[in-house]
Symmetry: C2
Subunit: 200 residues, 2 copies
Amino acid sequence: MDANPPGALAALIDALRALPGVGPKSAARMAYHLLQRDRAGAEKLGATLGHALSSLRHCKRCNNFSESDICPTCANPRREQKLLAVVEMPVDLNMLESTQSYNGLYFVLMGRLSPLDGIGPREISMDKLLGRALDGVVEEVVLATNFTPEGEATAHMLGERLREKGLKVTRLARGVPLGGELEYVDPGTIAQAFRERRQV
Amino acid sequence: MDANPPGALAALIDALRALPGVGPKSAARMAYHLLQRDRAGAEKLGATLGHALSSLRHCKRCNNFSESDICPTCANPRREQKLLAVVEMPVDLNMLESTQSYNGLYFVLMGRLSPLDGIGPREISMDKLLGRALDGVVEEVVLATNFTPEGEATAHMLGERLREKGLKVTRLARGVPLGGELEYVDPGTIAQAFRERRQV
């Protein structure tokens, strides 16, 4: 066989597989696309990768990606310093911000407990969270991890650790979503909404 | 809102969207993964991108990616010089090679006709193919584009242009695949297999 891809191409295809969800066929398709149809995009990708790797660090307070030691959100004195919401990923933080209904601070775990993937308490920066939550100013920690099995397990474990330190720990409410029709909501959600029904 | 992603992160997410099939949500997920869980992979990706962009060119004969002016396949004197198979992409060439049933040469279009995506005869290097096929040595051109509507249209157009230059033009056979059960093969394929039935 003399049809193996040239070395530089094979190396690029292999490197693209570092992207989550990208297998050998997608990686080959991506490499051909970049080299054949979008060399400018490929150059931009290479440059921004290098810049991101060298300039981004984790905010010392909230653990989110930041270009400074303390990110703008944590440095904002107008935010409620007593409230700390714990989220899995930066996208979750952005989603909470977009609701304009929360003015406290954040801690970003950058993941969720997932023992099968080798992601334990250390990988989600639990010690950094405990240090942050026990700064003497925070009074309430709002667990805002996802309502998936892994997100729930993460919230459960963090809740135990934070409560034993004497902090007030809350969790986002579960229930029927706005606009939800009971016919199309899953039974588990409805059962939960029944148990947590509120007087009106 | 002071929760916008820092500039270097936003630029990386934007650049990742150059990859085919990657929208804003996947791009964000990829960026977080690279920065948080696989910085070594990110550095390798940046380096291989740069190396591929600077070292890969198109083989002057077959148009495939190559690190030399003439790729090893085209430079191989043991290959049948009278036969030229036309494929859409390098992966198709690799697939044909893996069958070990073809010993001629290749031409890689690096695409297929797709007017809606702005891919016409010029983008698939038709002039380069005509020059290659009319070198006086090639006697038969085997059209091995995919059997999709776009691949068929590409084969049809190329076949017309090559035949009018006096070349013998063939197309890979269509029919029931090996191991195919008629019950599960689509009716169009069976109709084709009927029309092109062979005496045994």
